[in-house]
Symmetry: C2
Subunit: 232 residues, 2 copies
């Protein structure tokens, strides 16, 4: 059919091609964009800055689902109204967003159906990433989960510099622990070992690492601890 | 706009309202519907039977993502062509499916955009379930993960019987272990304790449990082991 645009031969379709500009909204570092008390109003697009998506448990613990940055969407849970989950989106720095309500998205989709397919593709990709994460939790010890976490964030948030190194924003050991599912203390223990072995380098300003080296490391020790117990 | 059907006031939209019948495909117990060697051909709908979705690691371990049954869709990863993941869909019994290729879905969406929104909603819901699972892995010990797993499957696959009990298909300790992320032996250990405490009852034919009791249990011991070490 001639009126059907195929996206099978492209990698990922871009929803932005089908959306019109919305007003810019500003958020300060630490500001909650949505959460339990104030659910997501629609789908958000990051124009500038970084947004942390997390879950909060009844016992007050946080679990990081992911970090999103410029040109990425979040807030899709607004599409499922029955959602009674403690999901929070928080500005990690000064953030600029655009937002489209579910009604606006529906209206656009009625005219431009490809928008829905593009959004769907994006959410499926996210779903597969979550599947990777579940797989990691089910089979990997903490050090391997940390390596996967560092590869994930460096691919998503980093910039390639000289010698195959990738530089990315500083991520606190607390935040890494909330992603990997362990304590801050254990995270610091492993980050120190990784630094000593020159897998990475970090300061208050950035983390620098070699994702190819980390990937190699995962391949070598398939299914085993990377760091022998007590090898600090 | 009058031509926009709102689904915000309904719980979940049904993609089936927008799809036309496809040919029925039969699968035998244990048959691979798709996997690494033969990727998903499109989106599948289960007419009859149960399908297990799993990941396989290089070290040969399996991780269960979920089990789907009649009137449920799976195979959405076909929408993201770059997907190089070891995801398998396997018939758990004799299974009847319908399948629509990505091109067929696109063609239908061009005429009936609500199909894309309905599918999107379904995938977002699945995404939120995966988020729950990640949260559980990050903060819960094995016995609490097992309780969540049993609640999840009883809600999705079970039938309510007398006295608030739910009866569902038998799930092997091996399969439960692959969902919870532990060994078969540890799973058997906890299932025995749960049976002794009358949280559930199981045979080769079915599992019977009281989901309300299990939910209460989770609420009581928030953040702690349900089963004291060595309390077998």
């Amino acid at each position: 059919m001639s009126n059907v645009i195929s996206f099978q031969n492209r990698d990922l379709e871009d929803p932005l091609e089908y959306l019109t500009r919305a007003a810019i909204r500003d958020y300060q570092k630490g500001q909650v964009i949505y959460g339990c008390e104030q659910p997501a109003a629609g789908i958000y697009l990051i124009i500038d800055g970084k947004v942390k998506l997390d879950r909060r448990t009844d016992a007050g613990r946080q679990v990081i689902l992911d970090i999103y940055h410029h040109d990425e969407f979040f807030g899709e849970s607004a599409f499922v109204k029955s959602a009674a989950i403690a999901e929070y989106a928080v500005a990690m720095c000064s953030v600029k967003l655009m937002m489209w309500t579910i009604a606006e998205i529906q209206e656009t989709v009625a005219r431009r159906p490809m928008l829905a397919l593009a959004l769907m593709q994006l959410i499926i990709k996210r779903n597969m990433d979550f599947g990777d994460r579940i797989e990691g939790f089910a089979v990997d010890p903490i050090d391997r989960r940390l390596v996967r976490c560092l590869i994930h964030f460096s691919e998503r948030l980093g910039i390639r510099t000289e010698n195959g190194l990738v530089e990315m924003m500083p991520l606190t050991h607390e935040l890494l622990a909330q992603y990997v599912g362990t304590s801050r203390e254990i995270m610091t223990h492993y980050m120190n070992i990784f630094r000593r072995r020159q897998y990475l380098n970090y300061s208050r300003k950035s983390i620098r690492l070699n994702p190819d080296l980390l990937r190699e490391l995962l391949g070598q020790d398939c299914g085993h601890d990377l760091v022998a117990k007590g090898a600090a």
